[in-house]
């Protein structure tokens, strides 16, 4: 009797278990499986493929990529290539400028518009944000024309400086154009963050006779700190992968002086007048991937915590 009951309970358990399995595993995974499949085929397998390719020597014309294993040869080529180091340095400049200058500008503009009592703050925000919706290619083409030696920038300032064909200035010009395009984007995100500043604290500070400088530094900036971090991470990721602006403005030139990691990878692998060494290109991708993983871990942690 006792044994019988136990058996019955067990079989019920089994049914419950299958129902549970159906509800808790089968159905959820059925819904997520298309996304997972795309992830495996479009992201994961190419990444692994690329990591392996960076240890092989091959050109775009080889039908068999795995013909010639070269070990770390591709990486050695890179480490002996002066222009690779320049591109790494320029990417670093890009990242630093976008997380300092660009964020500072966006922060100042957003605070000024938010607290500035402007009559039409929506219009101001819309205008400053507008470049962010344009194609970086179109923006770069426009600036390229304006920065030519007989272009409008030189005409305004009565100069004849070769902005984009100067070895020293080119990378900074590219960074300037990028800041021009993306400051409004950071600004709008800051603007959303500013909504959460506690007005009662600001009013209390007013009663105590605080100046605006004090309120901005002691109350406003600390209370939107998460938004600042968010913008830092966004710009870090964004400026690390910049390609369009450099490619259109300078093609990495003159003499590779404004090359960044993405453009030198394009030069090594696909450029018509490049060396057509796809293995080396893959090695650059490997290095970018490795650097990005570090950023990625930070970003995912942050996203999961939420803002």
């Amino acid at each position: 009797m006792h044994l019988f009951m136990e058996k019955k309970i067990k079989s019920q358990d089994k049914n419950i278990n299958f129902g549970k399995f159906y509800r808790n595993t089968l159905v959820p995974y059925a819904f997520t499986s298309p996304a997972l499949l795309v992830f495996i085929f479009v992201i994961l397998s190419p990444v692994i493929f690329s990591l392996i390719l960076s240890f092989y020597k091959f050109t775009g014309f080889d039908s068999n990529f795995f013909k010639q294993f070269t070990g770390f040869e591709n990486f050695k080529i890179l480490f002996h290539d002066k222009f690779f180091w320049i591109s790494l340095r320029n990417t670093f400049y890009f990242v630093i400028a976008s997380i300092t200058v660009q964020i500072a500008l966006a922060l100042i503009i957003s605070i000024f518009i938010f607290f500035g009592n402007f009559k039409n703050s929506v219009l101001l925000r819309t205008i400053i944000f507008f470049p962010a919706v344009l194609a970086p290619v179109a923006v770069s083409l426009a600036w390229r024309k304006m920065l030519e030696q007989d272009g409008v920038v030189n005409r305004i300032f009565h100069l004849s400086f070769p902005w984009i064909s100067s070895v020293h200035a080119a990378i900074w010009v590219v960074i300037f154009v990028s800041i021009w395009q993306w400051t409004g984007y950071n600004m709008v995100i800051f603007y959303a963050g500013l909504q959460s500043v506690d007005r009662e604290i600001l009013e209390a500070a007013d009663v105590d006779g605080a100046t605006w400088w004090g309120k901005i530094m002691r109350i406003i900036i600390p209370s939107i700190f998460p938004t600042i971090i968010l913008n830092v991470i966004l710009n870090l990721v964004g400026s690390f992968r910049v390609f369009d602006i450099v490619y259109v403005l300078t093609r990495g030139g003159p003499v590779h002086s404004s090359e960044v990691l993405t453009t030198i990878m394009y030069y090594y692998s696909f450029s018509a007048n490049g060396p057509n060494k796809m293995g080396v290109g893959s090695a650059i991708a490997f290095i970018m991937f490795a650097i990005m993983i570090i950023f990625g871990v930070l970003r995912v942690r942050f996203l999961k915590r939420g803002v």
Binding site: P28, F112, A135, P136, W212, S282, G296, V300
Partner: protein
């Protein structure tokens, strides 16, 4: 709750007039803010107006202008020239470029949103083993620079025989868009009250029906913002279109336009301006019409977590 806050951030007014900068109480910062914002506006607006003014100048007056912006003689000939130049020298007309961009952009958006909505529904609706891990992997791919995939995907797509077809860019785009869409849609789906979904289930609705008839209709605003964000990502995309679409007939607008200016031939300055304007004007119109959604979409992608 959080949703309301963000909506206010996007559409709402600025700080209460009473507590903002006032000319009487804090003249310093009041004037400084005016100066800074005016400079910012000039810096943003000038290049756009300048290119527009270039595009309507006659050949003779390219270097003659008032205050750099107002042309002395106006013509629409540059637009005609640019239109013809593309058709004869690039083997692709502007209409074809737009068609190509629309096909590449919208097919990838539709596929990505359908797939992402299914996954987001699963993340918001069920508790299951490996949920955190699955979610993390999907959104983590968001931070991988797309260029890392440029070389390997090229060979994979070549093996599939789709290089130089629309699929060559649609496949990678779908891969890049899904994480962004999941990020936005999941948090929206989670804000839909549980009671609504539960009551439908009590009435015997299946998961699919809850998804199609309750969750999706309630998330129309989220999906609209999402579409705009993904539209910008794909419409402005350059490097994959540049490498994977070698056939001029199916090149997208960004690639074709880069060819006009970066090509071997030096094009007349007015035509140069006109071709930039032709690419900007459609985006400008869409931006003005859907302004609210644009800012919402672009900040949601970033702020929602």
């Amino acid at each position: 709750m959080a949703l309301g806050k963000r909506k206010a951030a996007i559409q709402g007014d600025s700080y209460n007039v009473k507590y903002g900068f006032s000319l009487k109480k804090d003249p310093g910062i009041f004037i400084l803010s005016r100066v800074v914002i005016i400079i910012a506006i000039i810096l943003i607006v000038f290049p756009i107006l300048y290119i527009f003014s270039l595009s309507i100048r006659t050949k003779a007056t390219v270097y003659q202008d008032i205050l750099f912006l107002i042309p002395k003689a106006v013509t629409l000939q540059n637009y005609k020239d640019a239109w013809n130049y593309a058709a004869t020298n690039l083997n692709v007309s502007f209409l074809e470029m737009f068609r190509n961009s629309i096909i590449a952009s919208f097919s990838s958006i539709i596929i990505a949103i359908v797939i992402a909505a299914l996954a987001s529904f699963s993340f918001s609706q069920f508790k299951f083993k490996g949920k955190e891990l699955t979610f993390t992997t999907i959104i983590a791919s968001f931070v991988i620079p797309a260029q890392v995939l440029l070389i390997p995907l090229f060979f994979i797509l070549q093996k599939l025989g789709v290089i130089n077809t629309y699929l060559a860019v649609i496949i990678p785009y779908v891969g890049f868009l899904i994480p962004i869409a999941v990020l936005i849609l999941r948090s929206f789906f989670e804000e839909i009250p549980k009671e609504i979904k539960e009551s439908a289930k009590v009435d015997g609705a299946s998961d699919i029906r809850v998804f199609l008839q309750i969750v999706l209709p309630l998330s129309k605003p989220a999906i609209a913002s999402c579409i705009i964000l993904l539209f910008l990502e794909t419409w402005n995309e350059f490097i994959f279109a540049l490498v994977y679409l070698q056939n001029p007939k199916i090149q997208t607008i960004t690639v074709a336009i880069a060819k006009i200016a970066g090509g071997k031939y030096i094009v007349p300055i007015g035509m140069y301006g006109a071709s930039i304007m032709i690419t900007i004007i459609p985006v400008l119109i869409i931006f003005l019409v859907f302004q609210k959604w644009f800012i919402a979409g672009m900040t949601l992608g970033a702020v929602k977590g």
